[in-house]
């Protein structure tokens, strides 16, 4: 860092000195500074990262070469290495053999050699590259172009972050999912009607996997049904309220009402979902239960209705502001034409504007559905965690997201079908919401183009 700043300073100073000799510079002085700073940082950085990647494995190789001719297995060698490391850090609590002690000493020794040589090497490289860059500056080379090319490359790399994230998501899901389907046939997963991951919990890790043990354990139909069902309840709340308030705000409301009502409704979207979950579990659930008992119905305190209803409240603002936007962008000419024919305002809305805005509204509803499907905390806290195959809104059901949380909360053992099941569910969720989003965005985009 410090070297970077000093080299910037030197580069600029050199540039001024060239300027002082009345030679015309090919770039602004600070570009010479940047140029030198980049020369100073990049080669050193590359070497540093290479070093960081290769150092541990080389050290390991040297340490373990002592043991190589004693007929240990790979796993045992790894264990020895781990022991050596923890011993050298002074955190080892097992039996200390003289062998281990010598290798721990050797390890520390190697580490300090590595540390020192790293510092020396990197300093040398920095100095060498600075001298090289400095020479090029002195000959009054072009510096703006390389600096800008470098910046451009940095910008481009940053824009790859989004793609890397997507790739990361797919990779983190796909391997576990494939492993899962090696044990559980895809068919059983999609069409099985029993979901009891708890059954797979107790397994002796030393025994080989027995696929027959898991038959009838990972049938995802109850979860898919529950997800669909809760989303349906949520949309039953969100669509009428969201759509009507969107229409009212766009067509009827005075500027003053709009100015206050719109941000107030949008607050609903800003409230964290865990807060909704708490609200659903503490207030709505018991409230529904009381009403149900008063009417002689048996209502579970953790009902699908409570979770779905609260989720619907959460989605209202998504639908209302999107449909508001969509309706406002319907051309005024359509409205004027309808009024001229003697239609009232509501008739115009119902018969002219609504059909014209329909694709956009459908798009906004689909985005709402994708929200509902991906919502986690409300379901985890307000609806049950047991996957019942039921369409009674008064009983508890579970969703894909809730099951992922149930399985992965606490410690996870990678390689266990139960953990892999969560990743398989995540994959399903990712694919479903992805296709919903792509479809919805395309519909909205098409619609926008139509009126632009």
């Amino acid at each position: 860092m410090l070297l970077g700043f000093t080299s910037y300073y030197f580069g600029r100073k050199k540039a001024y000195s060239i300027q002082a000799t009345n030679t015309r510079l090919t770039a602004l002085p600070q570009f010479y500074g940047y140029y030198l700073a980049i020369w100073c940082a990049i080669p050193a950085f590359i070497i540093y990262s290479l070093w960081a990647i290769f150092e541990p494995s080389i050290v390991k190789l040297i340490i373990l070469s002592d043991y190589s001719n004693q007929g240990y297995l790979d796993d045992e060698l790894n264990l020895i290495y781990e022991k050596t490391k923890s011993l050298s850090r002074g955190q080892f609590s097992g039996e200390i053999t003289p062998y281990l002690e010598t290798s721990a000493e050797k390890y520390l020794n190697l580490r300090s050699i590595a540390q020192n040589s790293k510092v020396v090497l990197i300093l040398a490289i920095i100095i060498a590259s600075i001298v090289y860059g400095y020479k090029r500056i002195s000959s009054n080379n072009r510096t703006r172009e390389p600096v800008e090319k470098f910046l451009n490359a940095v910008l481009f790399t940053a824009s790859l972050a989004a793609i890397l994230t997507t790739i990361g998501i797919v990779f983190s899901l796909i391997f576990q999912t494939i492993d899962f389907f090696k044990v559980i046939p895809l068919f059983d997963f999609i069409f099985g009607t029993h979901w009891y991951p708890a059954k797979a919990f107790v397994r002796d890790a030393s025994e080989p996997l027995d696929p027959s043990m898991y038959s009838d354990t990972f049938g995802a139909v109850p979860i898919f049904a529950g997800t669909f069902f809760i989303a349906l309840i949520a949309m039953c709340v969100a669509i009428p309220i969201g759509l009507m308030s969107g229409i009212y705000l766009a067509e009827y409301a005075s500027t003053k009402v709009r100015q206050y009502a719109k941000p107030l409704i949008e607050i609903l979207a800003g409230i964290p979902t865990v807060v909704y979950g708490f609200f659903a579990a503490l207030t709505v659930g018991p409230f529904l239960k009381d009403i149900g008992t008063a009417m002689g119905l048996e209502v579970s305190a953790e009902s699908a209705l409570a979770a779905g209803g609260v989720m619907g409240i959460m989605i209202i603002p998504f639908i209302s502001s999107l449909s508001d936007d969509v309706i406002t962008s319907v051309p005024q000419g359509l409205r004027d034409g309808s009024y001229a024919m003697g239609a009232t305002k509501s008739e115009t809305i119902k018969k002219v504007i609504f059909p014209a805005a329909l694709p956009g509204i459908v798009g906004s509803i689909l985005l709402g559905v994708s929200r509902a499907v991906g919502e986690t905390m409300i379901v985890v806290m307000a609806s049950g965690l047991a996957a019942n195959l039921t369409f009674n809104p008064l009983e508890s059901t579970s969703t894909i997201t809730a099951q992922i949380v149930v399985i992965l909360i606490g410690d996870q053992a990678f390689g266990d079908p139960k953990t892999q099941a969560a990743f398989a569910l995540g994959m399903t969720l990712f694919l479903v919401t992805l296709s919903l989003n792509i479809f919805a965005l395309r519909v909205v985009k098409k619609y926008r183009e139509k009126y632009e």
Binding site: A158, S159, I169, L264, F278, T344, L367, V405, L408, F430
Partner: protein, 422 residues
């Protein structure tokens, strides 16, 4: 004929009125939900900012403390306060049976001996004297005093016994019960005992994760937005990046949790339950939000600015870095703050990477295990003890307070500094 027409017209007008009424009631309903919601949270939560103390006379008897004469500071530090503390509680009712003595002990918090110890360490001259000491009441009595606990339940359905209530009422009569501002809620870490649980650990966890998120997401997002808006050639590949960003913005947050678990924890072996991992996961989640906001504000800078700079001989890079980007900063910053506010309220991905672990120390760096405010809400909401209900609401109030401040800040930046191009 005319009458029919009038009838039709009237019914059409009625339909119009009805439709307007639907619209109004939809908005009314939405706002009603919001009001109920906020009212409910505040009405259950405000009591958590008060804490009930029992004022109990403590006799600092050197013998019960097993201390010699003229004890040094270290002696006081190492002394065993438990017997003294027990004796203090038993003295409230000298005729108590063994079972009742146990009840007496449970009237104060689990760590009441520490409160007595602190008193003595502050003033070592107290030995041999008697002094009134403030002891934290147990969470059940705390709830009773605040009126949140129904006293008319049969005894076997309550966690407070009749005997405890009797002694408690005596203390109230003597003016030995006091309610004071609950500072410990803000400075204590999480605890299994509701009366001692505080938000300090989860608060620091939230701060650290948000900082990590900011440090990673902001530069990357701004650079990516600059590239896509100003430099990217229009081709298949940049289109692909754009579609990618739009889709990532709508991917459910729990999928990012799986990403954190599957890549950051399993492949890179980063430490579990830490704000570092949480922050990285959240930054991936907020990245598209910030990119979209930043692109929008870059787009809003009129082309005339760019053209003027280019006409003066500036390179494309100079134009962007010296003119376009600074002018777009207000929009970018407010977008970033809104993205961070979203990340601050996120729970599900943090649960998956293990930030639900019980943490009873205040984390000092992003590498220490921690919870975060929303996760703390989840943890407390799942625990059965009555005392935690008001804590959850109070924690929600703190969280909502932060979100409101962040959003206001974003608004102010936008309105104050954004240039209106006409």
């Amino acid at each position: 004929m005319n009458k029919n027409k009038e009838k039709l017209l009237n019914s059409r007008y009625r339909a119009e009125k009805r439709f307007q009424f639907y619209g109004k009631s939809a908005i009314f309903l939405a706002l009603l939900f919001l009001t109920i919601f906020i009212f409910k949270i505040f009405s259950t939560g405000y009591t958590a900012f008060q804490k009930t103390w029992l004022i109990v006379p403590v006799t600092f008897d050197a013998e019960t403390l097993y201390l010699d004469e003229n004890p040094s500071k270290e002696d006081l530090e190492d002394a065993d306060y438990f017997d003294l503390a027990l004796q203090t509680m038993f003295d409230l009712d000298k005729s108590a049976s063994e079972k009742q003595q146990n009840d007496l002990k449970r009237m104060v918090s689990y760590f009441f001996e520490r409160e007595i110890k602190r008193e003595l360490l502050n003033d070592p001259s107290l030995i041999g004297k008697t002094k009134d000491v403030y002891l934290t009441a147990s969470d059940d009595l705390d709830q009773v005093f605040k009126g949140n606990y129904p006293r008319d339940l049969p005894e076997d359905q309550r966690r407070v016994t009749d005997y405890q209530l009797k002694i408690f009422d005596q203390l109230v009569e003597q003016g030995r019960v006091e309610s004071k501002f609950n500072l410990s809620f803000f400075i204590y870490p999480d605890s299994r005992e509701a009366e001692l649980a505080g938000i300090a650990s989860s608060f620091m966890g939230s701060i650290f994760s948000i900082l990590v998120c900011l440090v990673i997401a902001f530069p990357v997002a701004v650079l990516a937005a600059i590239y896509l808006e100003e430099f990217a050639p229009k081709n298949r590949f940049t289109d692909f990046i754009e579609v990618n960003i739009n889709n990532l913005a709508a991917v459910p947050s729990i999928v990012f949790g799986l990403l954190g678990l599957g890549i950051l924890l399993a492949v890179f072996q980063l430490p579990r339950s830490t704000p570092l991992v949480g922050g990285i996961t959240l930054s991936l989640m907020t990245l598209p939000t910030i990119i979209i906001a930043c692109r929008a504000s870059l787009k809003a800078v009129p082309p005339s600015i760019r053209e003027a700079a280019l006409a003066m001989g500036a390179s494309k890079m100079q134009t962007t870095m010296h003119h376009t980007v600074p002018l777009s900063m207000p929009g970018t910053l407010s977008g970033t703050i809104i993205g961070l506010a979203q990340a601050l309220g996120e729970t599900a991905p943090l649960i998956l990477i293990g930030m639900v672990a019980f943490v009873n120390t205040i984390p000092g760096s992003p590498l220490d295990p921690a919870a975060s405010l929303p996760v703390q809400i989840y943890i407390w909401a799942e625990s059965a003890e009555r005392g935690f209900v008001e804590k959850v609401s109070a924690c929600i109030m703190v969280l909502l307070g932060f979100l409101i401040i962040m959003n206001l800040f974003a608004q102010i930046i936008r309105h104050k500094f954004e240039k209106k191009w006409s």
